[in-house]
Amino acid sequence: MAKSQNLLTEVESKGLLKKAGIPVVEAKLARSKKEAISVSKEIGFPVVLKISSTDVVHKSDSGGVKLGVANATQVGKAYGEIVSSIKRAYPEAQIEGVSVQTMAPPGVEVIVGMSKDAQFGPVLMFGLGGILVEVLKDVSFRIVPVTERDAGEMIKEIKGYPLLQGYRGQKPASIPALEQLIVKVSQFVEKNPQIKELDLNPIFAYPDRAVAVDARIILE
């Protein structure tokens, strides 16, 4: 995987998004096993640990993510495992440490992203997370600036929309919360033309809110 000088880490990306009023699960950087344990205690268990390195593009595929880590001992163990598997998968990678964040309760997974089109400039994408995006490419696009109405239309346009309306007893996801999140992302990228690409993936959509669990920003 090509190294990108312009890739911000998850911690940096989420810091910028949070400042712009976009709901994120905040992540803190731990540069050592010891720091990881103290940050975890501060946040409260269970936590999620992820490799923090701009050289690693696919974090979870290379063993760089540990979910639901329940206590201090496990954090120490997980830290060691993450670092050694990344060293195997990306021998050249510069490792900053791991990011530590609270384990968000499960929600409907969606993705919101931005890229730049040669003819129309920045565009936003919306889709359901996981295989619905990757295999079925069930996504919709709108050109920035995206209004609340546009956001509503792009959410309803995807084929997987019924999954957001609640199925098999699941509670429906809040569409207004997703609309507001999309509009805020639109305002964020409009104000920051130096951003080349952006993925909030996944976002967990709940009945009353939506929050970005992972984020990646790529600068020009």
Binding site: G113, S115, L124, M125, R142, E197
Partner: protein, 476 residues
């Protein structure tokens, strides 16, 4: 909106005089053809043929140079090789020409670097001389009202549909299909390379033009996507805008580090842009003309409840089922007829063999005569459960049963019904083995402002687009 364009574009669509550069008395040149086409179309302004060899073209004098024309020249059509275009623009500037249309090809479409450079010089000269350029590499202006035909003398009736096209071939097809299907144009333009005036400019003009009520567009690309998007947003708010984007299979998105970047193909961006602008996206010439026809004929949202008369004689049953499917596929509802209507149909046609639910099979009328058929159709149209009525007529089946005279009467009745009810009637005439007769009937119905389609699918799809546009308008 865009009112300033009306005056600015008057020399484009309503010139008082046109000079055609590239005319010749002896050889057949595009310029000479243009002069001939304008004359036979009955262009009401003055035509000045221009050609270095001089001489006469019919009773018109060919001027050796634009500078020698005695009167004012609003609009110049250029059909000379590209080597002389810059000099020609100088001549145009000295004569205070307002608009220059370059039929001449061989610019950036052929030679990216050199062609682009020449185009930039042309635009520079036009700016200096306060002139606008249409083209190059295009067939230019079509205005039936002011008797400006497309090349080869194509000229239909004047109407309320405007169009812009990047391609001359598609522009010509729009004009000829318009003639065949009674889609009557206010104005059309093929703008080719669009180095000065491009799609955005013409769309703005058509939005302001009081003669234009619906707009069609064929586009392949744009030099300024953001301006086009902003323009379309405003235009679509004022008038229905139907857009066919050609070249959808161009290379996909480049390698990207994000999911978003890897999924954002140019085709997906165009679709998103059109949706967001409130334009109606279509994917073929057929869909474009179907949509323009229905917008022209019906002109407003019609509601989604359809009554379907699947056939007027034998074979109505299966066609009815298929027609119902086509409607449902495109978001139309096919609600059951009221019990009064069903009862009435039962009395008229007999209870046996009649399917009076909706779609309706009235084929039993063939054993009871035309007046019974007419009463049955009238009952269905009058039922308030529907907003629109589809009538499928299979001419090759009707002819042997009712003879030509009977078929004639049936269609006279439909036209009379159309004038009596405010509820729109859409006729489906499937092609078959009696094409000549079918086409004759299609022409009659279209002339009576009844929309005609070849298939229920195409009819339903066009109505769906009409309804969707107006329901989005209402939601604004």
């Amino acid at each position: 909106m865009f009112e300033e364009k009306l005056k600015e574009f008057e020399p484009i669509f309503y010139p008082r005089s046109i000079a055609v550069v590239g005319a010749s008395a002896t050889s057949i040149k595009a310029g000479s053809l243009w002069v001939g086409d304008l004359r036979s179309a009955g262009f009401p302004g003055i035509i000045y043929p221009v050609g270095s060899s001089g001489g006469r073209l019919g009773d018109l004098e060919i001027f050796p140079s634009l500078r020698l024309i005695p009167g004012e020249v609003d609009h110049v059509i250029v059909a000379v090789p590209r080597q002389s275009v810059l000099e020609l623009l100088d001549d145009c500037a000295t004569r205070n020409v307002k608009v220059v249309h370059f039929f001449t090809a061989g610019f950036s479409e052929m030679d990216r670097q050199q062609g682009r450079r020449l185009e930039e010089q042309m635009v520079g000269k036009a700016r200096q001389g306060n002139m606008r350029i249409i083209g190059p590499n295009c067939i230019g202006v079509y205005c039936p009202e002011h008797k400006i035909p497309f090349l080869m003398g194509i000229l239909g009736e004047s109407g309320s549909v405007g169009f812009v096209s990047q391609s001359g071939g598609i522009a010509t097809k729009l004009a000829t299909i318009g003639i065949a299907r009674h889609i009557n144009y206010s104005k059309g333009v093929s703008f080719g390379n669009g180095i000065d005036l491009d799609a955005s400019d013409f769309l703005q003009y058509l939005a302001a033009d009081p003669k234009t009520r619906v707009i069609g567009a064929y586009l392949e690309g744009t030099r300024d996507g953001v301006r086009l998007f902003d323009t379309m947003k405003e235009v679509a708010r004022a008038k229905p805008l139907v857009v066919w984007k050609g070249g959808r299979t161009e290379a996909g998105a480049q390698a990207a580090l994000s999911h978003t970047g890897s999924l954002a193909s140019p085709a997906a961006m165009w679709s998103a842009m059109l949706k967001q602008a409130g334009a109606i996206e279509v994917n073929s010439l057929e869909e474009l003309t179907d949509a323009l026809l229905i917008f022209q004929q019906l002109g407003r949202g019609q509601g989604t409840r359809a009554a379907i008369i699947g056939g007027l004689a034998d074979g109505g049953g299966g066609n009815s089922v298929a027609a119902g499917d086509a409607c449902m596929e495109y978001g139309l509802k096919v609600p059951p007829l009221s019990s009064e209507t069903k009862e009435g149909l039962g009395k008229l046609l007999g209870e046996v063999g009649g399917i009076f639910h909706n779609p309706v099979d009235v084929s039993q009328a063939q054993f009871r005569g035309l007046p019974t058929l007419f009463q049955a159709i009238d009952l269905v149209v009058r039922d308030t459960i529907s907003d629109i009525v589809f009538v499928q007529e299979d001419i090759e089946i009707l002819l042997p049963i009712y003879s030509q005279k009977g078929v004639e009467e049936i269609n006279e009745f439909l036209m009379e019904l159309r004038s009596r009810h405010s509820k729109p009637i859409v006729v489906v005439l499937p092609p078959g083995s009696t094409e000549a007769e079918r086409l004759r009937i299609e022409q009659k119905l279209l002339a009576a402002s009844i929309p005609v389609f070849c298939s229920m699918e195409r009819a339903a799809k066009a109505i769906h687009r009409l309804n969707r546009y107006y329901s989005r308008q209402e939601a604004e």
